[in-house]
């Protein structure tokens, strides 16, 4: 027996303890339980598809070749040249996100901080330095190809940009789904699949940013109301009631009638009118938590108010708010789709609601592919968020909970 096998005298008896159950925080446990449910997996998969389309839209559907060589031997990438700052930002954040997800050693808070910092830097840099040509001629390369000026070119899977009206092919109006146009074309000759892929950006952005605005307002107000209660709560609840009395859709309609149409204003309106639910939930949770011993203990150890509210109370009461938030994302998408369907949405950017509107075109006839595909996309996306919300709700409900959180 070698001497190395005998532990030294002062070794603490660590090995004697039974092996630990995996150390999993409340959140990790909640996420594990939520996304272990079939519904949530399906929902998450569809949201993943949408997110993939949104981020890689210019690489999936574009009239400009990825790489080409002209007849006189020049190698160029028109696609890269025509990328907008938004495209560049989204594409640049992909490797950053992947690296951050793989960096398991760094704490979650730090990783979020790094992510936000890089995001800000990339946005600033891309706005400053990315200058796509102002005039875009979509049929430029198709024309060049026809004239035999291109030796070879590699195109994206769908060789049509979202705003490519196929000026060179006047016969392509309202073509039914075919091999060339998998989901058909619009009244103005644009490719439906390409527009749907690009429209996923609007759907995703509206859902997340509008809900994010609502969440921030709702959680802060609800947290203060629940924590202080009394007169703060009384006044806060009256404010909630005032905002609940505002009909969101009519406010949106009025707004787009008088002001230039802007996606950010639409998101802000959906957010600013939609926070009351989160406030109610946060308030209720905080009212319940404020007398809990660990909150008293946090107070007794001299922690400042923001730490008690947002570090100690919020994580314990945020689960029901997250459930509402995932339903909120769905309803924000629906609100934007409604607005676009009514013809009051965005003008130049594609949106599912606006495409759905074209199913009954100006020429009168009903084009089934314009109804089914965008309609189906809206339905599936709203359904996916509802599935996630449902699974989250089941996961925090002790009666339907699968296993203890850890």
């Amino acid at each position: 027996m070698s001497s190395a096998a005998i532990p030294p005298e002062d070794t603490p008896p660590v090995a004697a303890r039974p092996p630990h159950r995996p150390r999993r925080s409340y959140f990790a446990g909640l996420m594990y339980d939520t996304f272990g449910r079939t519904g949530a997996i399906v929902g998450l998969a569809w949201v993943g598809v949408i997110a993939f389309c949104a981020v890689f839209a210019p690489l999936l559907a574009n009239s400009h070749p990825i790489l080409m060589r002209t007849a006189d031997g020049q190698l160029s990438s028109p696609l890269l040249r025509y990328l907008t700052p938004a495209d560049v930002t989204l594409l640049a954040m992909v490797p950053v996100t992947v690296v951050l997800l793989l960096l398991r050693r760094v704490g979650a808070g730090k990783r979020i901080l790094i992510f936000l910092a890089t995001l800000a830097a990339v946005i600033i840099l891309s706005v400053l330095f990315v200058r796509p040509p102002l005039t875009v001629v979509y049929d430029q390369y198709r024309q060049m190809d026809q004239r035999g000026e291109i030796a070879w070119a590699i195109y994206t899977p769908i060789p049509y940009s979202a705003s490519d009206r196929l000026q060179d092919q006047p016969a392509k109006r309202l073509v039914a789904p075919s091999r060339e146009h998998l989901l058909g074309t619009e009244d103005n000759r644009a490719d439906v699949l390409s527009r749907m892929i690009h429209a996923s950006r609007v759907a995703l952005a509206v859902g997340f940013i509008a809900t994010g605005i609502a969440l921030i307002i709702g959680v802060i107000l609800g947290g203060l109301m629940g924590y202080f209660s009394g007169i703060v709560d009384l006044l806060g609840m009256r404010l909630v009631e005032i905002f609940e009395a505002i009909p969101q859709l009519y406010l949106l309609l009025t707004f787009v009638a008088f002001f230039p149409r802007n996606l950010y204003i639409i998101m802000a309106i959906i957010g600013v009118t939609g926070w009351t639910g989160y406030t109610r939930f946060t308030r209720a949770e905080f009212l319940k938590l404020r007398q809990q011993d660990f909150v008293q203990a946090a107070k007794a150890s001299g922690l400042p108010l923001w730490s008690i509210l947002f570090r100690h109370m919020l994580p314990n009461g945020v689960a029901p708010v997250l459930v509402t938030a995932s339903f909120g994302v769905a309803s924000a998408i629906l609100a934007e789709a409604t607005l676009s369907f009514l013809g009051l949405g965005l003008v130049d950017e594609p949106s599912w609601g606006q495409m759905l509107n074209q199913a009954v075109g100006s020429s009168g006839g009903f084009t089934w592919w314009m109804a089914i595909f965008p309609g189906g996309a809206i339905f599936l996306t709203v359904f996916a968020y509802n599935l996630i919300g449902e699974a989250l709700r089941d996961a925090i409900d002790p009666h339907t909970r699968k296993a203890p959180a850890a």
Binding site: P12, Q292, D293, F294, A300, S301, G302, L303, N316, A406
Partner: protein
């Protein structure tokens, strides 16, 4: 009592909460006087609703105001014998935060719910240490590990990474104590620290507190309703009833010569080992709301004596030093008449002697 000056003095503290609609406020704490000397353990005993927790929470100003209100009084805090005492009730929120957890720490009754379930033990101790001490994170980890080691937790480094649900009740209370003591407070408010634990763990925790008090030069305000815990751990005892301190003496005096009828009733209601009784004596009123403290305190109800003496409660009663270092709540005329002892004290003392012998 010690010759040194008290580290904390509560003077005439009164705290009230709103009563039922249309009625006057409920006086949860009424003219309470207490003082704690360095290294001393002061036990506050009393039934539920007697105001012992509210008194302790008032020290750290943890009473939610509103609805609560501190009507009068001073809480003089004197951590340094050379500097003058400060009134904690006049501190700003910021000053108060630098006292909380740093100079005066508190541990709560329920170890099961006193730790935040979403953070590891380490994160919770570190937050307090980093808040009150100017140390780097690495140093704070060392302090936290030492604090866990001090309370007798094996493998402190490993435990720091665990969540509260992975610890047993006794372990959690040890963690709470470690957290409270990590910043080396001068005074520890222990609000029924062992009520939720079983007797074996209870003894361990109390033993631990005693040892740490000795090592760290700290005073303890021990709130409990367990007279056994009091007898073993306290130096001085304050008995509270209906928001008032009814008797205040060192532990020896209180257990051998209780003077206030309520204290006597309380002691009589303790079962004695090896004695068979059909019915234990009870303190009849149960949870009395403070407003009901009868003027002519009904001793009969409590100790079932034949001749109920008057003058041990009511608005005019006050704490009088009936013998050296032994204060009893009784009516002022006793003092006005120049009497060292209130009426009937002799009767009670004789009765107490009879019980003791």
């Amino acid at each position: 009592m010690s010759d040194a000056e008290p580290i904390l003095t509560i003077e005439d503290l009164a705290v009230s909460f709103p009563g039922p609609p249309g009625q006057r406020r409920t006086q949860a704490v009424d003219r309470v006087n207490l003082s704690i000397y360095p290294k001393q353990t002061l036990a506050v005993v009393g039934e539920s609703g007697s105001g012992k927790s509210v008194s302790a929470m008032s020290i750290l100003r943890l009473i939610p105001c509103p609805p609560g209100r501190i009507d009068s009084g001073r809480i003089l805090w004197k951590p340094d014998p050379r500097s003058p005492a400060d009134d904690l009730l006049r501190f700003t929120d910021k000053q108060m935060r630098s006292v909380r957890g740093n100079q005066i720490a508190m541990i709560f009754q329920e170890p099961m719910t006193s730790l935040n379930p979403v953070y590891t033990v380490g994160e919770q101790i570190l937050e307090a240490v980093l808040l009150h001490q100017q140390v780097t994170r690495a140093d704070a980890v060392v302090i936290a590990e030492r604090a866990l080691k001090d309370v007798g937790i094996a493998d402190p480094a490993g435990r720091l990474k665990e969540y509260p649900h992975q610890l047993s009740g006794g372990m959690r209370q040890r963690v709470m104590i470690a957290m409270a003591l990590a910043c080396e407070p001068r005074l520890l408010l222990a609000d029924e620290p062992t009520t939720a634990l079983d007797v074996t763990i209870q003894a361990q925790i109390l033993e631990l507190l005693r040892k740490l008090q000795h090592n760290k030069n700290m005073s303890i305000l021990l709130i409990t309703h367990d007279l056994g815990v009091v007898a073993e751990n306290a130096d001085v005892v304050a008995v509270m009833y209906a928001g008032r301190v009814v008797e205040y003496a060192d532990v020896q005096t209180l257990f051998t010569r209780p003077l206030h009828p309520y204290t006597r009733g309380l002691l009589r209601s303790m079962p004695v080992l090896g004695q068979n009784v059909d019915r234990l004596d009870t303190v009849m009123d149960g949870a009395t709301i403070p407003d009901d403290f009868p003027a002519g305190y009904k001793v009969a109800a409590h100790i079932e004596d034949a001749n109920p003496p008057d003058g041990y409660g009511g608005p005019n009663a006050y704490l009088y030093e009936v013998e050296p270092s032994h204060w009893v709540l009784c009516e002022a005329d006793a003092a006005k008449r120049g009497m060292k002892t209130p009426p009937h004290v002799d009767v009670i003392r004789r009765a107490a002697d009879a019980v003791a012998s």
